[in-house]
Symmetry: C2
Subunit: 437 residues, 2 copies
């Protein structure tokens, strides 16, 4: 693996266009993939210029990196994951949310008070994300400001861009909690150090409304407004949790109101799960322009349920995908796309009122283009998008006959060799490359 | 990878006991795993002697293979898969059963009329199975007798034991079907060659009752009775299929009766799926001693549904697990255990009448010990069981703290390195070993 150090090389690369040749697949709409065989993806200065079936004449003398039969794909955005839960990935699968949080999650996260430990773990996480083609994230850190800055630094060094939030959780007392005062002081202190990063930005992160005092919710809402900061949290994940929220916030009829009432509900808000969102909550999501992060693995593993994704899409709600490490166990967004489709299929069969299940094109669109949207970009490889690109090979996988590119692409979701991701770029940097290429 | 050739080595090994030291995990009951840390698994002549916390004195001078912190586990039995569908693994996931069969499956299987092609593909399949720790199977071949013998030969050479069946399908005319006469002639011819194999045995395999004429069903039932042969088929997989069977067999009230009426329903019968089996069918399964093969991935991928596994277990029905390649996409039975648990969790949440979901212990018991049962063996590493053993390492996976063996084992279902399976034995043979060990 290779983390380029930048410096001279980077400046040199900036001078010339970046051109990849291969089978370019992207999702400009949810309904059909755009596939350009033996096509050219061109970028300059870390931003996409376009995808072309033939090399445009103005680039005729430029070097082209020919990836042969391999796919050239958008690398992944993981729109909901918890960095400090990485060490407990795959554990506690026989428990539901609230028991799992107290038994596994809080003790695991509390260890990130140690910045040396935090760095060690976050470097492993960043490596594994990049190896799996994930170059953008919206990530929860722990409640520790220092470890959050470490996480941001490690991600930026690895070439991962996006948003990271120090978690606020000051409502319950316990081994892993803050006082309301410290929650606010640490948040401001953390924010004051974030301008040292170029590509990883802060996002306000009340853990979920039952973990925060109303004063802190209000404080975060004001901060969001003053500074134009985005917001991420959890919404309507589990039935017991929904009931608990109702008991804690008697003035709010519905879970989403606990965010809206404090200024944490707008078009820069990202809400994970929304499994039990009712019609009213779905309408409120659409009206405010909130982005939903669907976490199919986590919602199955923690017996939360299956979110009504088709109903959200039909309303025009932008749904993105998240691993929800460590509620979900899959780091590869290929696996997450497959789990998203599987979950939608079971919902279709088991729930008498469910409309049709999701297709590969739709799930891929959610995994890539809807994430672009949250980052202010166009769908697919739209001109001007930051380079988030990976080369994926399906060589060595047996086929029954010569396959169409669409069939080969669809198969990638379900079946790949462990070393199928060959190269990954983020902006102007090659952030991962298999040694033998 | 290493396929030992037997010969002198094998005879020499027979002379001395085979002793592995490590963390031995097995499932003697569905309710709890048996875990012996730093324990000894002892076998002689390809059969288990027992698991011991200390080396018994009579073995004190024998060589011990110390596997360190690695797990010593039962290798896997895949109780339902289609060998000739291996090339189409991961394809056609946006279709349901009957469309998927005609679009992908039948054309793919028909290519196995070519025995050279069959050998090439089956060698790749056998390699991938063994690398994934699968050493026993109950497998569907295609309708071709020659290719079925090739499959049996290839499996036996790879060290995979169990049952393989030439498929019968003579009801519909088409590019991939038999006449009733050829179905019977080819079945008898295939059976006449099966005694050349030591560890892979024939199993009668009507594809499913809508694909067979009643004469052929009757012929197979008589053959099962005369020769004491086991039977495998499909049952109540998909709602459209169940309706189709009803229209084809007007004398049968329920799908299972189409097997029972022709002598294909007894304690040597293996039925895949049973997603839509009603109370009557579940009772008939239990009374006849039929073994169910649950194929969670396939049932999700083809939108068949989720089989009522808890209800089956509560009735005492022996449920085993299958990949159902290529309806399911996972070859690793670790993945299949995880999918089994996930599917049961969604059923628990979505189906208002579903009892509790499955635990890791229960799913592991189904994957290993219930398969033993079908092969006439005891649960777990019972004395006298054939050696089906693998060494699995979780080294290199980050942990939040020192984990108990149970926690480490549970995590294996959800999170493993791609090279975690280090060695695999079948009978007296080491059939797989990672080169760097």
């Amino acid at each position: 693996m290779l983390f380029e150090s930048g410096g001279d090389t980077r400046e040199e690369e900036t001078m010339k266009p970046f051109i990849l040749k291969g089978t370019v697949v992207s999702a400009p709409t949810p309904h059909a993939l755009e596939i350009v065989e033996r096509g050219y993806l061109i970028a300059e200065g870390g931003y996409i210029v376009g995808v072309y079936p033939h090399l445009p004449s103005e680039y005729a003398t430029c070097p082209v990196q020919d990836m042969g039969d391999s796919f050239i794909l958008q690398s992944f955005s993981d729109m909901h994951l918890h960095g400090p839960q990485y060490p407990m990935l795959g554990m506690g699968g026989d428990m539901e949310l609230l028991e799992w949080l107290s038994t596994y999650t809080f003790p695991t996260e509390s260890a990130f008070s140690d910045p040396v430990y935090a760095r060690e773990i976050y470097e492993k996480l960043a490596t594994e994300l990049v190896e799996n083609g994930t170059t953008r994230v919206c990530m929860f850190s722990s409640l520790h400001g220092d470890a959050t800055l470490t996480l941001m630094e490690v991600l930026e060094r690895a070439g991962i861009t996006g948003y990271v939030g120090k978690v606020n959780m000051d409502r319950q007392e316990g081994d892993y909690s803050e006082t309301p005062e410290m929650s606010r002081i640490d948040t401001l202190k953390w924010l004051s150090h974030c301008d040292r990063f170029q590509h990883v930005h802060p996002i306000l992160t009340p853990r979920f409304s039952p973990a925060c005092t109303e004063d802190t919710m209000r404080f975060l809402g004001e901060l969001a407004k003053e500074r134009g900061l985005p917001i991420q949290s959890h919404l309507s994940e589990n039935r017991d949790e929904v009931a608990w929220v109702k008991s804690l916030y008697p003035n709010c009829q519905s879970y989403y109101e606990t965010y809206r009432a404090y200024g944490l509900w707008n078009h820069k808000t990202l809400m994970a799960h929304c499994v039990w969102s009712d019609e009213e909550e779905l309408n409120a999501i659409r009206e405010a322009g909130v982005t939903v992060v669907h976490c199919a693995d986590s919602n199955m593993d923690l017996r939360s349920g299956v979110a009504p994704i088709r109903r959200m899409l039909d309303r025009g709600i932008p749904v993105t995908l998240g691993s929800d490490i460590a509620g979900g166990e899959h780091i590869s967004v290929f696996d997450i796309v497959a789990s998203t489709i599987k979950a939608s299929k079971i919902k279709y069969v088991e729930d008498g009122t469910a409309p049709d299940s999701l297709t590969v094109s739709e799930a891929w669109y959610m995994a890539t283009s809807n994430a672009n949207r949250f980052f202010g970009e166009g769908a697919g490889f739209a001109p001007g998008n930051a380079v988030n690109v990976m080369v994926v090979s399906d060589a060595g996988v047996v086929s029954p006959r010569p396959l169409s590119p669409h069939e080969r692409f669809e198969r990638l979701m379900y079946r790949r060799r462990w070393d199928c991701i060959r190269r990954v770029w983020s902006g102007e940097r090659l952030v991962f490359s298999r040694e033998d290429d």
